[in-house]
């Protein structure tokens, strides 16, 4: 049986190439992501391991747990180091101090996306930052710069270089060395610099050590030194041996990279799903084309099982070959990406994607499983072929099924279930989640119903093309003759475009709402911040603004994260409804903001904040404001008390004074200045909003701000327009990334169109011969195929876009009761449709060429 499968496969491998490409691309995506993630993971682990190498004990602050975006910034008091030094088993000790230090380039512009100052370990026993050239800093004005920055800025030993400190003002240092940075440096664009410990402490205004590394005397074991340290400094720190620390770090790295990996794999799943639709179609066609052969096998004594096996082996082989190809491409691509990323770091050039068994097995498993699973149904149907079919069928291309009742029922069931779920979920606390679930059902319903839509949609869409005459008429008939096939091909595109348009609608509505809110009676005209550096606008500068005559209004805002926990419930009552899924009663991590002095109603409305209960202005009397989603998540109402834990380990509480309508533009908890001060001791604010005084010219204000900010290189100022366009620009970039990631799936969908069409050409060889004999020209025959590709693509994408818009509407309505205004990005959607239509034509060019090149005689001769 296997032999027959193999010979079959060899004889029509050409017909399977497109499907193999589709599966291979999907597998390449998966393997590439896995390879890339493991390269990053390995790099980080290796670097961590080498950093902690020969270190006996590591003392660090205790972590508050894993909250996304929450970084523990607690430190160990400087005095603790002395306590540890007194222990007799200690041979060497290194207290690491670090903090922000952004490098300025020769044009006085900040370099990179961030900068980190780290204290140089004085003892040569600590080898975490090997020198490339030069020496370690010995005096307070000396510095070592990481290799990537060193080369990027074309530095040399002895050169002067300026750093911006936490206070926002620059200082000059002399470069005395070039060091190998930690591996993480290869994956972000932040610089890394080593200063003397005394200078690091001063420059970063650090209040303690980030960690303390200890090397033991040879006579003392790591474990016993660890125990001694614990008994000396107590239980309030995490004290681990070097080996324990490495494995703890590894666990962290693995979980961090696996989050990214999982997020990317979601896109791979979409791509693979689309590829599976291509496989379904290919096998449907292959089976239809070989129905007589299968029937003949049955006549000769093949059992149903044998026919099944014959085809399954073939599908396994297809999956195997495609996966192998995909694995090679996947490793190649991810290796290329890693090489590009690390190209600037010579010391990391050895970093590459290791070809490991994991991704290979995964790739094989996914590729073969998807291929076999998608071919299963067409194959199962093929086993039902009656032996007499071998004698009956005349032509190969059968004009098949009318609309099946079964399909109609499935469609109605999915629609009904979807609607039921959505309606049932309304007004529950999980309405959005339930509605998404219902939406998926309705989506499946639409996909199932697509064969019904083929005829009406194509007739409607092709109406204007009638002027092209007979070729279009024949093309139209061809599109109808196997509606299921046309529908499956189109639905691959529908899925991709549905997702793209859904996200486009959400993003567009989002950025439209931001723009609308910020342009409507905003009480400020300039925004001062440190842009991408996300540090603070120094207090000194803010104080100057406050004193100046140029402004008659100043608001400040700090965005910080904290872990929040409900201490008391306040007036919260559990909503009573059927589908209430229990909410977790655990601390949550959230963004909080603060304002300076009193806040007017103007600022709230500028942010689109509306009170659901309580008064927003209660904020001015020291109360905190929470969003309705926070209220639900924490099960807390007005009068409830929340406990905040900051990244630096400070704890404070606040009482809820108002609940605002849920919205995602501003923060979800707003606290007054007093609460914020108890949590963070920043020497400034993230954002300063300035309102221009009346009677003062704009140009005077602009030059004043410019002038004042000059001594703070990280500070940038924007007017409202640029502030808005920066926000919307970021949203646009996010949309582009999303679209690019889905591009894989869309590309596979177009391979699917080309695939279906070329299979149809083979099937219709005789017909094309007949048409030619009847006087059809080459271009007319080509036109019938192009029409079919164009229509399939147009139809699939149109349905996808419509579903995406409807889905986007649902999402927006469910995530925000008020502040996000639903709007349709006509421009984007139009471009999608246009691109899809053009791509549909491109996908049909090869099949069209093949069809038009068939000689009439050859076409007529091809029987059986």
């Amino acid at each position: 049986m296997f032999k027959i499968s193999w010979s079959n496969l060899k004889s029509h491998i050409g017909r399977l190439i497109a499907s193999m490409m589709a599966i291979a691309l999907g597998v390449a995506f998966v393997v590439g992501i896995m390879g890339f993630a493991s390269a990053i993971k390995n790099a980080l682990i290796t670097s961590l391991a080498s950093q902690d190498q020969n270190i006996s004990v590591i003392v660090a602050p205790k972590s508050s747990g894993n909250f996304s975006g929450f970084a523990d910034r607690r430190t160990i008091p400087f005095s603790t180091l002395n306590q540890i030094t007194q222990i007799s088993g200690v041979k060497a000790i290194y207290g690491q101090i670090d903090g922000p230090a952004v490098i300025l380039d020769s044009h006085n512009k900040p370099f990179g996306s961030s900068g980190l100052a780290v204290s140089n370990p004085d003892s040569p026993l600590f080898k975490m930052y090997p020198l490339v050239t030069g020496s370690y800093p010995k005096t307070n004005n000396q510095v070592d710069v990481d290799q990537i920055t060193y080369r990027a800025l074309k530095l040399s030993l002895g050169r002067s270089i300026r750093f911006v400190s936490i206070s926002g003002t620059p200082r000059t240092f002399v470069v005395v060395g070039e060091v190998v940075p930690p591996a993480t440096r290869a994956f972000n664009s932040g610089s890394f610099a080593l200063f003397t410990p005394a200078e690091t402490k001063k420059f970063t205004q650090a209040t303690g050590y980030t960690r303390i590394d200890v090397i033991a005397n040879p006579s003392v074991s790591d474990t016993s030194l660890r125990n001694e340290i614990i008994s000396k400094i107590g239980q309030s720190y995490s004290v681990l041996t070097g080996a324990q620390a490495v494995s703890a770090e590894e666990t962290k790295v693995i979980s961090a990279t696996s989050i990214i990996e999982t997020a990317l794999l979601i896109f791979a799943v979409v791509a693979i799903f689309v590829a599976s639709l291509v496989i379904v179609n290919t096998f449907r066609v292959l089976v239809a084309q070989r129905i007589r052969q299968l029937a003949l096998l049955r006549c000769v004594g093949a059992s149903k099982l044998q026919v099944f096996k014959l085809l399954i082996y073939e599908s396994v082989l297809v999956g195997l070959i495609a996966s192998l190809g995909g694995i090679v491409v996947g490793f190649g691509l991810s290796n290329l990406i890693v090489k590009i990323i690390t190209a600037s770091t010579p010391s990391m050039s050895s970093l590459g994607v290791a070809v490991t068994l994991g991704p290979i097995l995964y790739g094989l498993l996914v590729g073969i499983f998807v291929t076999v699973a998608s071919s299963l149904f067409p194959i199962y149907k093929a086993t039902k072929v009656a032996p007499v079919e071998a004698l009956r069928i005349v032509g190969e291309a059968r004009v098949t099924p009318k609309t099946s009742v079964f399909r109609l029922i499935v469609m109605i069931v999915f629609f009904a279930l979807g609607l039921l779920i959505i309606v049932g979920g309304l007004n529950t606390s999980n309405a959005a989640l339930i509605a998404t679930f219902g939406g998926v059902f309705i989506f499946i319903g639409v996909i199932v119903s697509m064969p019904f839509l083929v005829k009406p949609m194509v007739s409607f869409l092709s109406f204007p093309l009638k002027i092209f005459g007979t070729a279009i008429k024949i093309g139209k008939q061809n599109t109808f003759r196997n509606r299921n096939r046309t529908a499956i091909t189109a639905s691959a595109l529908t899925i991709g475009l549905m997702l793209v348009s859904l996200v486009a609608v959400i993003f567009y509505s989002f950025s439209g709402s931001v723009t609308a809110q910020l342009t409507k009676d905003v009480p400020f005209s300039y925004i001062v911040s440190t842009g991408k550096f996300k540090t603070v606008v120094p207090l000194a500068l803010v104080n100057e603004f406050e004193k100046s005559k140029y402004f008659d209004g100043i608001y400040t805002e700090s965005d910080n994260v904290a872990i929040v926990k409900a201490v008391s419930k306040g007036d919260y009552t559990l909503p009573k409804n059927r589908f209430n899924i229990a909410t977790p009663r655990r601390p949550i991590n959230t963004v909080i903001t603060r304002g300076i002095s009193t806040v007017s109603y103007d600022l709230f409305s500028a942010y689109g904040l509306k009170a659901q209960s309580g008064s927003l202005l209660s904020y001015n009397s020291g109360k905190i404001i929470i969003s309705s989603s926070v209220s639900k998540a924490m099960e807390i109402g007005i009068g409830g008390v929340i406990e905040f834990t900051s990244e630096t380990g400070n704890i404070t509480t606040g009482t809820v004074g108002a609940i605002m309508q849920s919205q995602n533009i501003a923060s979800n908890i707003i606290v007054p200045q007093s609460t914020m001060n108890a949590l963070y001791t920043d020497n400034g604010y993230n954002y300063v909003f300035l309102k221009q005084s009346k009677g003062i010219s704009t140009s005077a204000v602009v030059s004043y701000i410019q002038n004042k900010s000059d001594s703070y290189p990280l500070v940038t100022s924007e007017n409202l327009q640029t502030f808005i366009s920066n926000i919307t620009g970021k949203i646009a970039v996010a949309l582009d990334i999303f679209t690019a990631l889905l591009g894989f799936a869309l590309f596979i969908a177009f391979i699917g169109i080309a695939n279906t069409l070329s299979l149809s050409v083979i099937e219709r060889t005789q017909e094309f011969g007949l048409l030619k004999a009847l006087g059809f020209t080459k271009s007319q025959i080509g036109m019938t195929m192009i029409f079919e590709g164009f229509m399939t693509s147009l139809m699939g994408s149109l349905i996808g876009i419509i579903l995406g818009v409807i889905g986007g509407y649902g999402v927006i309505k469910s995530i925000s009761s008020a502040s996000i205004i639903f709007s349709i990005p006509w421009g984007n959607l139009g471009v999608y449709l246009l691109v899809a239509a053009v791509a549909g034509v491109f996908a049909s060019l090869l099949p069209a060429r093949r069809a038009s090149r068939l000689a009439p005689t050859e076409a007529m001769a091809q029987i059986g």
Partner: protein, 257 residues
Amino acid sequence: MTTQNQGIAPPDSKSEGVSDKPIAVRLSEATKIYGKIGTESAVIAIDRISLTVNSQQFVSIMGPSGSGKSTLLHCAAGLDSLTYGSAFIGDIDITRLSDTSLTKVRRNNIGFIFQAFNLLPTLTAQQNITLPIELASGKLDRDWFDQLVESLAIKDRLNHLPSELSGGQQQRVAAARAMITKPTVLFADEPTGNLDSKSGSQLLQFLKYSTRSLGQTVVIVTHDAKAAANADVVYVVRDGHIDTVVKDPTVDQLLGI
């Protein structure tokens, strides 16, 4: 029902049963109705046909187009199911078998040659011939294989694909395939229909030889009186009934029908 000469007997299995040879095929009241019974579209293709084929007999079925010859053959060979009545291969009632058992019968007891499209295009002639053995996971009888390809004169074409063979060669490969399992009976539906007269008579000579010297039972459907004249018995079908039975026919006799 008309009788043609002294050798003719009614097509009743009981009065046929004088032969000492065992029975290879038996149809009893075989009826096949296409389409939904009782509706306008129902077609009675064969109507209560009973007949018996003895082992090592060469039987021809003739009749006008649309009379039900192919239907008769398909039902007798277990390729299609009867609406009423029963069909036996040897002593197995194939109308009562599950798909699995019927597959086994097709594999072991029946050989079939069609008018065209007999061969799998991706397999060589040899692979096509041995296919039934492979399907049954059986062991190829090498001597039998050699004997078949020798007497069918296809020995030097064994490694060619069907597309590289002439029509006559293809049909002879099909004949070898049909006989490789030494089936109880070989059915052929117009096996010479697509062949020129020389290739056609080569194949018929072989089929006749196989009944005489190899002990094969053969049932063929044909339009060609010359071909039918090779048979021991000719059944003439008209409108789904057996109209005439001719024993030891001559060409002239058959042309007259």
